[in-house]
């Protein structure tokens, strides 16, 4: 009877999920309540977790709770720490949740809400969660080895080197792109710039407090820090209202870019306890608070999604970024559905803290489902504003027109009515000078979040505070990635250069720290700078580049996972990782090809560069602008080379893996697994 009731309950959940999905897919006309998105997503996640993850755990991975995990065998209270599964879930989620699932869906909303939402849900269930779960399992079985180490052991030595280089290259692109998102959010906004600038002295204060006065008392320091940051959000309004102070904090893109580069260098070169760690604590608390508030706000307010299910830009002519729905919707959504970077977390700290193998399902698969839900909420927040406003915020001036009137006319001509006055009114109500041409996703998401929050607390009176709270939350979130990423990048550069000249590899030799920090910020800073000066707004070129590199890293992780599973003799169920891997190969290779060779100058790096070169040759570019255009041409060609190098690196790894697979399957070569030997757990069942 109990079993029948259980089956009945799951049938109801599945039916509700199907109803939710059908409604968001088939709805036409007036706005659709966000409740349908929540219903479709949550029910789909529940069914995927209950059925698909259980199937993977039982059939593919055969998780074994009698086997001692690395945390049990090496428990030292430092690196290997057995941790309660709920606490570890929180740790893992805080580590994987970055700005990607917020920005990606917001940008992909230009296709309409439907393709992005479906991919967020299905991509997570069948690809992203699978990658995180399987890599976590593989790392647990190898004493917490990293993805690079596993690639070296299980695929080939060259595979390991390629995975390491790919991580460094992706990190550089990622840092440049996320920094560009902050620049576009802070440009000409004294309020937001002041608030974010204030988080630096606040972090320094916390750093000194945590190091010298109350070492390691993270909660009390964070409470003080969060209160100070909230005060800075409110004080930002006073700065914006004071002409003298507002002038000091009103900055252009290039100035902000150099400020961020200087910040990244400082965070990497200064002692970690002084700036980086306290900022991370602040960010973790605010991140958790803001994400749960957004979820609660959407459930309470149930805003109507005003964006149509599909827009006219599915044909590839989108103003936010160019390219057809296939493959660019998938490349743009990236982290909310599957993120290669997660494989670095799943093979980093988490496997060293897990108590039981069986918990890998809850932590690996479950945390990614939650990340996907964050992506769906971002999609709802972005699509809850009128489409005209969305396109006005996210389109560069070169596409829609330089004046408000021209831009409003262009956007209206696309079938999304907009009056120039509407944007001025909206900017005024959120306390900004302008909201035109703020590509990058952060400002439009902040407008959406502010509307949801203000309808919950404070009404229109607090709209500007909520907007700047949302901007601060996104920027803080991104700065955390920027400073932590720059530091890790510095370590990678030191390790690489240390092979050439040993002293550079010494992690505590200050000249080496300064040199390698300078190198890493110079590399991502170059991508940031080219994005800032790009006439098409930067996001059009760089976000797809980031998406391609991120998805290529996910493909690397799935190649490693598939190789390990084949060696384990799991041929029958190999499609679980093989199908998402093949899908990623198809979308990344198609996107790479199009980004390099497409004849459409808004898509292809080379055709854009060649078009500009032809204009210079024909004398159509004024002499004063020739230097600037030549830089743009160089940057486009550089982007083409970077894309090609990443694709070739991945293909080499894939060929290495295919040779292995062939040897195992066709020639019956003995598969040598590098698992740690079985040790029985000493813990009782309920421990």
């Amino acid at each position: 009877m109990k079993r029948l009731l259980g089956i009945g309950a799951w049938v109801v959940v599945a039916a509700l999920g199907a109803l939710g999905l059908a409604t968001i897919a088939l709805h036409r006309g007036e706005g659709l309540s966000a409740t349908w998105f929540v219903l479709a997503a949550v029910c789909s996640y529940l069914v995927a977790y209950r059925l698909y993850s259980a199937f993977i755990a039982a059939k593919l991975l055969t998780l074994d709770n009698t086997r001692a995990t690395p945390a049990e065998r090496h428990d030292d209270g430092r690196d290997f720490v057995p941790t309660n599964k709920w606490v570890l879930f929180g740790h893992h989620f805080a580590a994987i949740a970055g700005p990607g699932p917020l920005v990606g869906p917001t940008l992909a909303a230009q296709f309409g809400y439907l393709p992005g939402t479906l991919w967020l849900i299905a991509g997570a269930a069948f690809a992203g969660c699978v990658q995180d779960f399987v890599i976590l399992f593989c790392s647990i079985r190898r004493d917490g080895k990293t993805l690079g180490e596993m690639a070296k052991d299980e695929v080939s030595k060259r595979g390991g080197t390629i995975a390491g280089l790919a991580v460094l290259a992706i990190m550089i692109i990622l840092l440049g792109v996320v920094a560009l998102v902050i620049v576009n959010a802070l440009k000409s906004s004294p309020w937001a710039t002041f608030t974010l600038a204030m988080t630096i002295p606040i972090a320094l204060l916390l750093g000194v407090y945590l190091r010298f006065f109350r070492p390691g008392r993270v909660i009390e320091a964070s409470v003080i820090g969060v209160a100070l940051v909230m005060f800075a959000v409110v004080a930002g309004q006073w700065v914006a209202d004071s002409p003298a102070w507002a002038a000091k904090f009103t900055m252009g893109g290039v100035t902000l870019a150099f400020a961020l580069i200087a910040y990244g260098f400082a965070a990497s070169a200064l002692p970690v306890w002084l700036l980086l760690a306290p900022r991370d604590y602040l960010s973790a608390f605010i991140k958790a608070g803001a994400i749960f508030s957004l979820a609660a706000g959407i459930l309470l307010v149930r805003p109507h999604v005003l964006m149509p299910p599909l827009t006219r830009f599915v044909d590839g002519s989108g103003p936010v970024f160019a390219g057809k729905i296939f493959p660019f919707c998938f490349i743009t959504i990236a982290c909310g559905a599957i993120s290669g970077f997660h494989s670095l977390i799943s093979s980093g700290t988490t496997p060293k803290m897990i108590q039981r193998e069986g918990q890998a399902r809850f932590i690996g698969y479950g945390a990614m489902l939650l990340e996907s839900f964050v992506g769906v909420m971002a999609m709802v927040a972005a699509c809850a504003m009128t489409p005209g406003v969305y396109f006005a915020i996210n389109s560069p001036a070169t596409v829609v027109g330089a004046t408000p009137e021209a831009a409003a006319a262009t956007i209206s001509s696309w079938g999304y009515p907009l009056e120039a006055g509407t944007m001025a009114q909206l900017a005024h109500s959120v306390g900004e000078q302008t909201l035109w041409n703020r590509a990058g996703g952060a400002p439009s998401l902040a407008v959406g979040m502010a509307h949801i929050f203000s309808r919950t607390i404070g009404g229109d009176r607090l709209l500007s505070i909520w907007y700047h709270f949302a901007i601060m939350f996104e920027a803080l979130f991104i700065l955390t990635v920027l400073d932590a990423g720059t530091r890790v990048g510095r370590f990678m550069v030191q390790e690489l250069l240390g092979r050439v000249w040993k002293p550079i590899g010494r992690m505590n030799w200050y000249p080496a720290i300064v040199l390698s920090s300078g190198l890493i910020v110079a590399m991502w800073g170059y991508f940031l700078y080219q994005g800032v000066v790009d006439p098409l707004g930067g996001i059009n070129s760089l976000w797809p580049l980031f998406g391609i590199s991120n998805q290529l890293l996910a493909a690397v992780a799935l190649v490693v996972a598939t190789t390990i599973l084949l060696k384990m003799g799991k041929l029958r169920w190999i499609w679980v990782t093989l199908v998402p891997m093949a899908w990623l190969v198809v979308i990344t290779m198609t996107a790479s090809y199009q980004k390099i060779f497409s004849a459409n100058p808004r898509i292809g790096f080379l055709s854009y560069a060649n078009g500009l070169a032809a204009q210079i040759a024909a004398g159509k570019i004024p002499a004063a602008k020739i230097g600037e255009m030549q830089r743009v041409i160089f940057n486009q060609r550089l982007d083409a080379v970077v894309t090609a190098v990443l694709a070739v690196m991945f293909l080499v790894l894939l060929v290495e893996a295919l040779v292995q697979w062939y040897a195992i399957l066709a020639r019956g070569k003995e598969a040598k697994l590098h698992e740690t030997p079985y040790v029985a757990t000493q813990w009782a069942e309920g421990d």
Partner: protein, 73 residues
């Protein structure tokens, strides 16, 4: 009858207090606030050599955490 209700109420209060304490402890562990206590108890069990001071442990943990990928995009 009244005595039974009182006992029930007390039990309920004890249960609630225990649940809040558990939640608080979970939150402390998630945030890193309880990391030193965990390390010290592990070191007391004799698996460690010299036990680090709270300050030394804090700095060592940060160095390790931020030398590998700890935050995602």
């Amino acid at each position: 009858m009244r005595g039974r209700a009182k006992t029930e109420k007390r039990k309920w209060k004890i249960g609630l207090r225990a649940a809040i304490a558990k939640l608080w402890q979970g939150f402390r562990e998630w945030s890193g606030d309880a990391a030193y206590e965990r390390y010290a108890s592990c070191a007391e069990r004799g698996r460690e050599g010299r036990v680090l001071s709270r300050e030394e442990f804090y700095v060592e943990q940060l160095q390790k955490k931020y030398s590998r990928v700890s935050r995602c995009c």
